[in-house]
Amino acid sequence: MPEQLPLPKRLSAEGWKVKIRDLEHGEPPHATVIRGTTDWRWNLRSRQFMDRQPNARDVPTELVRLMRAHHADLVRWWDTTFPDNPVGPGEEE
């Protein structure tokens, strides 16, 4: 079952979602911010947005703050869903 970060009503009403789905492009570990047809990938290791496009500045500061505040939850969700590719330096060497 996908994990979805609970968001304040205002952000939800604007269509924002933060998800870790059961099947994601796996590398690097990330949470996906979704609004309409646009998605931003937020790297759970660096706590930064991963891609050149779309522009990370379009994501509300409040939402980024929430992801940082709930980083431990997001990491736990990722590690539970993708134990072969954990967020921490746990890859087998």
């Binding site: 099947l23 994601e24 492009h25 796996g26 047809t37 998605d39 050149r52």
Partner: protein
Amino acid sequence: MMVLLDPALDPVQDTGEGEDPGARFPRLSMVSNGLLNLRVSNRSGYWVASSASPTERFGPRDRLGRDRLLVTAELDTALREYLEALFLDVVTGPPASFLPLDQLRHVLESDRRQDLAVGVLVNSERQAIVLIRGNFARIVVPWSWFRPTPAGLAPDFGDVEVIDHGLTIRLGRYEAAVEAILYELDRDFRARERQRRIDMDPAFGAALRRLRIQKGVPRSGFPGITEKEIARIERGEVSRPHAATLRAIADRLGVEAADIETF
């Protein structure tokens, strides 16, 4: 008789030989109730009809050979064959299911429509789903590609739909990112994604690591190749493995050897 909200979108006028240098594309319009049209150029575009009746407007003389049509309703065989003769491509449902019309519209408007899904079809006999993309191209995804989660949640192929404006496929309680599907199955998509990403290491070893993780194969999972050797390749300590090793790795990961570095 339907009322055209934008007469300029009449297919007879709009797909003629003459290019209109002043026209701006893409241009999306609700042509009539239940009929959307996206012009991507004077000569080509996409149509979406929410039932069979809006397709009555397409006459035998219309020049639609570069247009694509999606009808979210079921069509009888005769009408379908007629439309297939008129259009470059026709997609219909059911059994395919599609995004709600408002979300479908947003996908069509998006400049990355080909990277979003608008519909999905389940073929139980062949144990595959057919993903219908925003440019109406189809891609076949075997059921086996959707791995159950470690918690035991498996995809339910009896309850499949596209959600999140074409970014996610829901299979029962299981959700899969469309990006993950396209990344593995569409080489052109991978090339576009590499342009979009900042923190992607272009080295062969990094590409192998991404592909191995995507496939859920541990480093110990390559018959005839030691875990240590795979680790050395991934760390870049082996700039290019021997051809036989490369073939064995590619076989285990189910890709062509030449495709590994595209991941």
